[in-house]
């Protein structure tokens, strides 16, 4: 049985000779709570300023909700996956096809979308063992592109060119503006949940083990880390989380087209969220997500047709001028150690 011990500063779980500490650090909660409160107020502000902004908020939350698990995948496998949008496609198409075929709502399609994302990740998980470096990048890059081709080949099923329509909506309160507001909150809660779970994982022993794999796979193997197990788990777990974003897109818009999410430009957007926010900094993914979504929106509104050219240029400049990303600016001013350190009083 699981033995739970509650102490002043931590909750300890013991099970079959294994022990997990859940350290409670209320003194570190202030900034987290302030940021979360700020984020939660934001959709309401947007609602009163211009409800169209709510769509950008949803996009920003979803960019972050894709980038956060991708950061975990990058850390846990020691490789950069260039095709995270493959899992968005899997999750989205599963939800869309089931909803259209059986008239299922989002709650019913959710477990299947997650399951299919996990299964597809499991099928392709040997990639993290056999391929590394450029080969891994190329192979993962191909996955969404091949999937997109399949949606065109089997266009009767996937409607590759026009997209699947008639998917049940995530919410239908009868008032469009309220729908947008509630959807913005659901996407934000999803993103915050991802942030919390993955932050916990990264700060735990599993995060430390992933960091060793990231730093030196063979050495980690030599000191007793079962690297293949960790890499596959990180890949599959993160892919399941990314698949949920696909499910969200399908039920949010009521339509799902592979051509929107599977091509390179969507993938580049997600990778830029990671790099602009701060390389593999999960908190940076939130900053990056909001930055990219709002920058894109502003450029579309102000520049119109020239936007596809200027967007990458602005991002390239930012990549060079801010090597540590936007979150890096904050970290530089307010440094805090995220891994346990021992202080000796002399």
């Amino acid at each position: 049985m699981v033995d739970v011990e509650i102490r002043r500063d931590r909750i300890i779980l013991r099970y079959k000779g294994k022990k997990w500490d859940w350290i409670l650090e209320p003194r570190y909660w202030r900034n987290t709570l302030l940021w979360t409160a700020g984020l939660l107020v934001f959709p309401i502000l947007c609602y009163f300023i211009s409800p169209i902004l709510l769509n950008t908020v949803v996009n920003a939350n979803l960019y972050a909700a894709i980038a956060i698990p991708l950061a975990l995948m990058t850390l846990g496998t020691g490789r950069i996956n260039f095709g995270p949008n493959f899992f968005i496609g899997v999750g989205g198409y599963t939800a869309a096809l089931l909803s259209i075929a059986y008239g299922w709502g989002p709650l019913k399609t959710f477990p299947f979308a997650v399951l299919m994302s996990l299964l597809s990740a499991l099928v392709f998980s040997p990639l993290v063992i056999v391929a590394r470096g450029l080969y891994y990048v190329l192979l993962t890059l191909l996955l969404p592109l091949v999937f997109m081709e399949i949606t065109f080949i089997y266009t009767d099923t996937f409607k590759g060119d026009v997209g699947l329509a008639g998917i049940q909506l995530l919410l239908n309160t009868g008032m469009v503006k309220v729908n947008f507001l509630l959807t913005a909150y659901i996407s934000m809660i999803l993103m915050l949940l991802y942030l919390w779970v993955i932050n916990k994982v990264i700060k735990s022993r599993y995060g430390l083990i992933m960091a060793t794999i990231n730093d030196g796979e063979e050495v980690a193997h030599g000191i007793g880390v079962n690297i293949n197990k960790v890499k596959i788990l990180a890949f599959v777990f993160a892919a399941g989380m990314i698949g949920v974003a696909g499910w969200f897109y399908a039920h949010y818009f009521g339509t799902f087209a592979g051509i929107t999410y599977l091509p390179l430009n969507f993938m580049i957007k997600i990778l830029l969220v990671i790099f602009i926010g701060g390389r593999a900094q999960i908190f940076g993914c939130v900053v990056g997500g909001y930055f990219i979504a709002f920058l894109e929106m502003i450029l579309v509104v102000t520049l119109g047709e020239i936007q596809p050219v200027l967007f990458p240029v602005i991002l390239a400049v930012l990549l060079f001028t801010l090597p540590e990303g936007l979150f890096g600016l904050y970290r530089r001013r307010r440094y805090r150690e995220y891994l346990p350190t021992l202080h000796v009083r002399r």
Partner: protein, 250 residues
């Protein structure tokens, strides 16, 4: 003393090159066994075969009666095999403490081991190698000698029974080398280790090892006490060439 590791007719080839050929030997519990050989003799390949980084083409490796020829490195580590590397291979983005904590967490299975418990134990090993004051420094910022010591602490934290020390003297100045040798001797005594020491510097093994195995072109050419090895004709020939004995070499 019972045997802790037995190697039987182990062979490893890379394409047309046979790096280790039909090598057999054993290591007894509590011993310090040295392995010598000129450059390219196959010493590091042998350690890689024993630790599981490479698998043998033929032959068997047995540890305490269990056949480990085909099991992966992490399982060998759980059984009590650990190693240091000839060129230090730290985790550059981790602090010294965290590098050792991972070893303490992932090495030998222990009951009720949390991250904090592992950190507490890791400090002991860092103190042992003299790196406690540098515990919060990233491994990439440590000096070469400190990296060697960190490697040793990382290897010790897995609670090994048998430790492979791969050319610990390489790149150290004489003062640091003496420190390292003393530390390994202390580790052997304090943690009850068996040591398999691969070394280029003969003088070190002459002092530290109880038994030495000499290999050349992947084959065993001699085995015996340091004194026997030092006077062995084949070892002298392998190191200095046949001309040395005939007196034709200047």
């Amino acid at each position: 003393m019972p045997e802790i590791l037995t190697v039987r007719n182990i062979t490893k080839s890379f394409g047309g090159l046979t790096a280790v050929h039909d090598l057999s030997f054993h290591i007894r519990k509590g011993e310090t066994v040295g392995l010598i050989g000129p450059n390219g003799a196959g010493k590091t390949t042998l350690v890689n075969l024993l630790c599981g980084s490479l698998y043998a083409d033929r032959g068997e490796v047995e540890m305490e009666g269990k056949l480990i020829t085909r099991i992966p490195p992490h399982k060998r580590c759980h059984l009590g095999l650990s190693r240091t590397y000839q060129i230090p291979r730290p985790f550059p983005e981790l602090t010294a403490l965290m590098s050792v904590v991972t070893s303490a967490l992932c090495g030998k299975d222990r009951v009720n081991r949390g991250l904090d418990d592992a950190a507490a134990e890791a400090t002991h090993y860092l103190e042992f190698v003299g790196l406690f004051s540098k515990r919060n420094i990233l491994a990439r910022d440590l000096t070469f000698f400190e990296l060697r010591m960190l490697e040793l602490a990382r290897a010790l934290a897995t609670s090994p029974k048998l430790l492979f020390v791969d050319e610990v003297m390489a790149g150290l100045n004489p003062g640091e080398a003496i420190k390292a040798v003393h530390l390994i001797a202390r580790a052997k005594e304090e943690f009850g280790l068996t040591i398999f020491w691969i070394e280029h510097v003969m003088a070190v093994l002459m002092e530290a090892a109880e038994r030495i195995i000499a290999i050349h072109f992947g084959e065993k050419i001699a085995e015996g006490t340091p004194a026997e090895i030092a006077n062995n004709d084949m070892v002298i020939e392998a190191y200095l060439g046949s001309g040395w004995k005939k007196g034709t070499c200047n």
